[in-house]
């Protein structure tokens, strides 16, 4: 591996990100999958970094899941997106930041399509007025939320309490980075580092003390692939994708997987249980899996957030071995307590993959 080659590409694929004042839109599935991630993102950016992030309560899905599942036409998806942009303008913002990778892909695709086909933009402008009576607007700047954390990764590092380092050995944790397909595979210039060697998560890992694992199936999709999973008969494709990735990364003995997409951590997490159930094989040490976390969860961990406030109990793969490696204190009794301290009940735990 010639690191200078990657560094040259990383230098070629940079983009400016405004320093402040962002309009934030959530993902429609992340809050169910990883409820702590977006909350943590907003807490870090607003309260730890002092940035202005505004959420308009009337914002909705971007329509991306329906669009990529071929259940709504592109014009419908674009009109939904135009409404989101109109809300941004009404709220007095021009820097649009989305939580979801697929949304980022849809917004990028829409803006590029409007640029190439102004007649389509005019059509959507009319649809927006007819359906919502809203004034059409476009963001001055579009970013994915992971771009923001990337931009401020060194500021986060300054506030870091638990770096991505094995507290007992002092060695960097080996971290797999997995980029959502819709981040830069469609429009390489829109992502930090481009499509082949994205830097957005690599930059975070390195800034926070970890060691990046580059393995042969790094670029492979996590297995979500929308229709691979939504069409029940196709789910074997989804699982086999994930299986292929784990077989490829296994020899490197990664401590952690970090992702920037709603679906990727879900599939990389949950399929580990299914693979263990089907084959008896687990990919972590001593019968555990490999934790697959969102970048906000990892940022929260290194900054010293309580693991259970981050929602890490929502992961199928047990997080405790990672916490112990990093030397992060945690109270096992609070794992299944709600924020109000109420016991939510422990879920059934499979025997094929260690849970605690």
């Amino acid at each position: 591996m010639i690191i200078e080659g990657k560094q040259k590409i990383w230098a070629d694929y940079q983009k400016d990100i405004p320093d402040d004042h962002y309009f934030y839109v959530r993902s429609c599935i992340r809050q169910a999958f990883w409820p702590g991630s977006e909350v943590t993102f907003l807490d870090i950016t607003r309260n730890k970094l002092g940035k202005d992030f505004y959420e308009n309560p009337y914002h909705t899905t971007c329509g991306g899941i329906a669009y990529h599942s071929d259940t709504i036409p592109q014009e419908t998806a674009m009109t939904i997106i135009a409404r989101q942009f109109a809300l941004m303008k009404e709220s007095g913002y021009e820097n649009y930041v989305c939580s979801c990778i697929t949304s980022f892909g849809c917004y990028t695709e829409t803006l590029e399509t409007w640029h190439e086909y102004p007649e389509l933009e005019a059509k959507i402008r009319q649809y927006l007025w007819d359906s919502c009576k809203k004034e059409f607007a476009k963001p001055k700047y579009l970013a994915h939320a992971s771009d923001i954390i990337y931009k401020f990764r060194f500021e986060i590092a300054k506030q870091m309490k638990f770096p991505l380092v094995n507290a007992k050995t002092g060695k960097p944790l080996k971290v797999v980075e997995h980029i959502g397909c819709h981040y830069s595979k469609m429009f390489p210039s829109k992502g930090f580092g481009g499509a082949e060697y994205p830097h957005v998560l690599v930059g975070m890992i390195e800034a926070w003390g970890g060691e990046v694992v580059d393995y042969p199936e790094r670029r492979q999709c996590c297995g979500f692939g929308f229709r691979q999973y939504f069409v029940q008969a196709n789910r074997g494709y989804s699982e086999s994708n994930t299986h292929k990735k784990f077989e490829s990364m296994e020899p490197y003995e990664p401590d952690l997987i970090i992702t920037n997409c709603p679906g990727c951590p879900y599939f990389l997490d949950r399929w580990q249980y299914v693979i263990a159930e089907q084959t008896g094989k687990t990919y972590g040490k001593n019968g555990y899996g490999i934790p697959a976390l969102t970048y906000e969860e990892v940022a929260g961990l290194v900054m010293g957030y309580d693991p259970w406030d981050l929602g890490l109990q929502m992961h199928q793969v047990a997080i405790e071995p990672l916490l112990e490696k990093m030397g992060i204190p945690y109270d096992p009794k609070k794992k299944y307590q709600g924020l109000n301290g109420k016991d939510l009940g422990q879920p059934m735990c499979p025997s094929c993959i260690k849970s605690v």
Partner: protein, 336 residues
């Protein structure tokens, strides 16, 4: 006749054009930006289709230009048309007057790192066809360490909308098969694969080379493009491709991957080209006057072209064009 003819470029086209112009009684002056004549071909070891040593072709060409005014390490910094023809200011401070200009500026090799998915400049064992040729000449390249599985990727930077080059680079198919055979000669136990879109064996003896590659050298030709290259823990290359004849994706681990880089227009001449008023064609190379009867002419009086500055060409085609441009220039001077 002692009229000066300015030849920009000292590769195969420039040398051969100069040799012929001298024989026709004109006074060619070769301006070559590098430190030696010979161009790309001088960096080659052997030539397709018959594995002819490149130096055996280059040497007579060098003999041909003996006595001809050659300026090495020199570029044309500025060129203007005047009443007598052209006035060229050279990078060494000299000024040359010439009756006609022959652009024999050749090509640039496509920069393999632009095809990021192939990992050139990132993975140690991904090399270019030019680097392999240097290995054949010198026997030295630390990346080539008794490879047992070798792949060749055709059309790197050619017939590729993504990089903006939709044209065929013409010589890469045959070069790949030649180099594949040569690798089998050097490493007889190696498995050698080539990944191609079409094999364009257009010249005399080329199809024979294709058959020989498979029958005598047991090279496996796979119709399909490589889509991705990565590196495993041992530093070996893991490639993904599609075998379109079997209709199946494939994954393979290799010790060495050779990228057959295409020809691109030599951009270092852009300023002079612009000053002379010569446009580019749709492939980005220089536009000649006519693709049938005006191969060596341009839209501008007194400006001629030869060789790969107008399109990818084989060496025999380049030499033929260099000879024909000499006749064109001779007729132009005589009819003035």
């Amino acid at each position: 006749m002692k009229e000066n003819i300015l030849i920009i470029g000292g590769g195969a086209a420039g040398m051969e054009a100069a040799t012929q112009l001298k024989k026709l009684g004109l006074t060619p002056i070769i301006i070559e930006k590098s430190e030696a004549l010979g161009g790309h071909i001088a960096q080659w070891d052997r030539l397709f289709p018959a594995f002819h040593p490149a130096k055996d072709v280059v040497a007579p060409m060098l003999d041909g230009v003996k006595g001809i005014d050659v300026r090495l390490n020199t570029e044309v910094a500025d060129i203007q048309r005047d009443a007598d023809g052209f006035k060229a200011a050279l990078s060494n401070g000299e000024t040359i007057n010439a009756k006609a200009v022959v652009l024999a500026t050749g090509f640039d090799l496509f920069k393999a790192e632009r095809k990021q998915e192939y990992g050139y400049g990132i993975y140690n064992n991904v090399i270019t066809s030019l680097e392999l040729e240097k290995f054949f000449r010198t026997g030295k390249d630390e990346r080539i360490n008794n490879p047992q599985k070798i792949g060749f990727v055709h059309c790197v930077g050619a017939r590729d909308v993504k990089v903006g080059n939709t044209y065929c680079s013409k010589v890469c198919c045959t070069t790949a098969l030649k180099q594949a055979c040569e690798m089998k000669e050097v490493f007889p136990n190696a498995e050698v694969y080539t990944f191609y879109m079409d094999l364009r064996m257009f010249g005399p003896g080329y199809e024979d080379l294709y058959l020989k590659t498979q029958k005598d050298f047991d090279v496996k030709c796979i119709r399909g493009r490589v889509c991705e290259v990565s590196e495993d823990m041992d530093g070996r290359l893991v490639i993904k491709a599609e075998d379109t004849l079997f209709g199946k994706p494939l994954k393979m681990t290799l010790d060495l991957l050779v990228l057959m880089c295409s020809m691109e227009k030599n951009k270092s001449i852009d300023k002079i080209q612009q000053q002379l008023g010569i446009a580019n064609n749709s492939d980005g190379f220089m536009q000649n006057r006519d693709m049938y009867l005006g191969l060596n002419g341009t839209a501008k009086d007194g400006v001629f072209v030869a060789g790969t500055c107008t399109a990818p060409k084989s060496l025999p085609d380049t030499i033929a064009e260099a000879r024909s441009v000499a006749v064109e220039v001779f007729n132009y001077i005589n009819n003035k």
